[in-house]
Symmetry: C2
Subunit: 222 residues, 2 copies
DNA sequence: TCTCTTCTGGGTATATATACCTAGAGGAAA
DNA sequence: TTTCCTCTAGGTATATATACCCAGAAGAGA
């Protein structure tokens, strides 16, 4: 990175080319900003960062091969100077909390206007954080109290097996079928699913699926 | 509508302002096209059409207050001259079939490039139909055979009650709770849910939820 | 070594969902 | 009227999920 760079450099990460190009167009209206790259999934993102670190990464939650949240953790660990603006379509308390814990600097909704996008970039550029007005009012109190209670996010503690089972639950399999797929007893599947329900504080698999899909833990099954 | 209009007029319907503006920017690169309006939900869409009918409606599937598919039916019924380009993030056989049955003229994915967007507009402008390259190869055969067999789409036959129950199923409620909400016996809920499973050929509620969300029957619960 | 966590899987019990069946009330259409 | 569909709701049976209990094996780390 050139320290004397005149531009504020931005990398776009979103699996939808149309949306990437649309945002690039919006950003290009501001001559002080420069989009230095676009990537469509998590692998491309990590590959890109090996050679070039932008000032700001605009990151969609629902990316293939690496969920947005995991991407935040990885990027912040390896490149702590890269700021991250999360872009999401979902209003969700838990997800916002999750994104903040992982190290995101800003949180923008796709419902927001393009003026909000530029405002978010400006605030992060100035070393501040940004929260979508769709969320700030409703959730600020919850977030603050959560931090005060020093509660650790459940998102960090999902084990490998639990992630595997979660993906199969989303696909609508029964314990027996999941056991066959993973070569495990259906009782073990039950155990992992029960842990998932407990960790996310959900009461049944439908809620679990909604939650997991909304929060980018899994890609909705096609 | 002025018959001597020099522009090809376009209306954007998507609940995400950022995406709307991004697409508007992309379209504005072509001087022959003119975006005459933007709406964020189904109510606004119907309201807008009362006064102005564009040549082309670019319509996202996951809109509040009126699902994309229902919107297609309504628009085509009242304004048969308005062409419709569906814009979706989901690759899905059944949904594509559904959209075609409802009268969509084109089917574009958000994964497609902006060049594809302009190509899609051009083809529809020329009176042809358009299908995203993401789908054309995989699904063309299925679609053709489905039409040959003259199979009727199950999507048209959902009753009002079934839609209500479907929405509650997506929210993860039990039969008892749904019965309380709708003031019905849980057994009646069971009956409607069983009909939904049968009509969509699904085996359990998780599959039903995935299917319904993917296909725009319901908005994923927040 | 001791401790902790994960992964494994069984016992037991209850709750819920799913798959069949039946059947009456009401509305719409032929 | 007759027919068809929807909505209602119950009977019965099985399948599955969920919530507790238990415990041993394996690995990581202090």
């Amino acid at each position: 990175m050139e320290s004397g760079n005149a531009y504020y450099t931005i990398l776009l990460a979103d699996d939808h080319a149309l949306i990437r190009h649309g945002i690039r167009n919006l950003i290009s209206n501001n001559p002080a900003l420069k989009v230095v790259g676009e990537v469509g999934d998590g692998e491309q993102l990590l590959e890109f960062l090996k050679t070039t670190q932008p000032d700001l990464l605009i990151l969609d939650i629902s990316m293939p091969k690496l969920t947005g949240i995991e991407a935040v953790s990885r990027v912040k660990k390896n490149y702590p100077d890269v700021k991250i603006l999360m872009l999401t379509m979902h209003k969700n308390k838990q997800y916002f909390y999750h994104a903040m814990s992982a190290g995101a600097d800003g949180y923008l909704m796709k419902e927001d206007s393009d003026e909000e996008l530029l405002l978010a970039i400006k605030r992060i550029q100035d070393g501040k954080s940004y929260l979508s007005p769709f969320l700030s009012q409703d959730f600020a109190d919850d977030v603050i109290s959560a931090y005060r209670n020093n509660r650790s996010s459940p998102f960090e503690t999902l084990t490998k097996r639990e992630r595997e089972v979660l993906n199969l639950v989303v696909e609508g399999h029964t314990s027996k079928v999941m056991g066959d797929i993973l070569c495990l007893s259906p009782r073990t599947i039950d155990h992992h699913r029960a842990n998932l329900l407990r960790k996310f504080d959900m009461k049944n698999s439908v809620d679990l699926v909604n939650f997991a899909v909304r929060n980018g833990f899994v890609t909705p099954s096609d």
